[in-house]
Symmetry: C2
Subunit: 333 residues, 2 copies
Amino acid sequence: MIIDCHGHYTTAPAPLWEWRRRQVAGQDPGPLKMSDDEIRESLEMNQLRIQRERGTDLTFFSPRAGSMEHHVGDARMSEAWSRQCNDLIHRVCSLYPSNFVPVCQLPQSPDVPPENCIPELERCVTQLGFVGCNLNPDPSGGWWKSPPLGDRWWYPLYEKLVELEVPAMVHVSSSCNPAFHFTGAHYLNADTTAFMQFITSEVFKDFPALKFVIPHGGGAVPYHWGRYRGLAQDMGKPPLKELLLGNVFFDTCVYHLPGIELLLKVIPAENILFASEIVGAVRGVDPETGHYYDDTRRYIDAVSWLGAADREKIYAGNVSRVYPRFARRARPG
Amino acid sequence: MIIDCHGHYTTAPAPLWEWRRRQVAGQDPGPLKMSDDEIRESLEMNQLRIQRERGTDLTFFSPRAGSMEHHVGDARMSEAWSRQCNDLIHRVCSLYPSNFVPVCQLPQSPDVPPENCIPELERCVTQLGFVGCNLNPDPSGGWWKSPPLGDRWWYPLYEKLVELEVPAMVHVSSSCNPAFHFTGAHYLNADTTAFMQFITSEVFKDFPALKFVIPHGGGAVPYHWGRYRGLAQDMGKPPLKELLLGNVFFDTCVYHLPGIELLLKVIPAENILFASEIVGAVRGVDPETGHYYDDTRRYIDAVSWLGAADREKIYAGNVSRVYPRFARRARPG
């Protein structure tokens, strides 16, 4: 069993983007008109083909990250858009229940306290069977105007996440700051930033059961693991393992073998979740290997010193621990 | 010969910080009163002791990065402060010409076109023998309000850097954005961001002789080297080596062995410069090794597969190529 915890519906059919265009333009977008066949077609040649080719079984599937665009419009616009995107993910997962597991977008909006997301989160989780959510630490889209993730600003949402037993993947959206290329800088910076915000916070003392997945292999964190161990130590914090590895997990969206080797060497296997982010940031074939850059399974399989038990944890075991609603759902009967 | 290309005067004596305090408070700070003995004392027990203990010969030495504070006050304040800091570095390097090589701070200021830095750069380089400078891609201190490094906004300064044959280390200062811890997020994010700004720019077509050092091991870049190769490829750019490795270099400020191994495996030896950033971001001893986290020489020496020729390039050879004014200075006679 191989479970990919990080996939976005980047290939959603055109009517979704037309709906959004009309919404942003201030026109009445009306109901979304999209047939099941359109949905099937958008997946069969893309995510489902890739699942078959690479031998992955299940993908945790959420709306396109770059299109969450929490910085566009106000909280009402964000809510209507999130609802639309989440309903579409629900349709995908209902059409292909053996291939996709639903993860929702939150209707965040700059300067709006994040408890505004609770109704949509509850709707997705309790009514539609979603098992996780994406939490944007920077709804301003590259201007970083929100309080850090350790701030009490976020606590009402954290309380609900714990109550619902839902982890959050820390994932920014597109950047409207020209300094930050979205997939080449903003995403990785957000991963790095969030980890340091956790180190300097009390959030896991206050919410021992709260769980976060930091995507893209944790940004710069595993590469600078010594720096983070040293910074925490200089601050008089306990070792990172004790401080936050019961709560923070990294995915494997690192697109070359040396990067994956580093990740597996430095971060305990218990804290790594398999992911590829297909169809995502990098779409080409690596001329050095002849395989897709984002075919992360190949890199993990190529690490000969990784034990079978650890490999199983990374491919499937950990995800059930981090996403308890998925674990319960996956149980037969 | 082992040359450390990245050290800041973090241990400068109290009168410097008192001068700055008065300047920021709007008082007349008067002339800086500091004896040569005070300077010697601040170095003997710190940088010079560490040089001896670790067997490094020379340190490229610049003002404390976190105190550049380009976001504080206006361009005139930044200019007076930069001049003060650079003069102090000049005194250090005059007292210890066999231990330190001067690198200057630029009097950047938010919203002020960077050509305002040219007079101070010229003064340092042509009158005081400085061989490099630190360039802050975000003088707003964590709000990222400047145009990206590929923008023509920066070009007048680049022209002067090329004319003077001076490379720039891309180095932000402290962060006044609560989202970004300075040494745990802002520094690494800036390294990652700058690299992606270079990928998406034409800057090295326009300035083939311009050289940048990206510190802290390149932020997240080497760990995500596959991602960057793939992103450039998806954009129809030439391979990274061709696109920017004639112009962009990484230092070795990565504070654990697996990180250094990754860096040496992924980035050509020609593009790596030895550095430790002493006395800097991380000051403790790693309980896992019994040695200082920032004793980066130990990690490099521990990489048994690194050939002697490559090791020499990293420790000393490359720096003469990247800093031609240092090379000429170092020549006997």
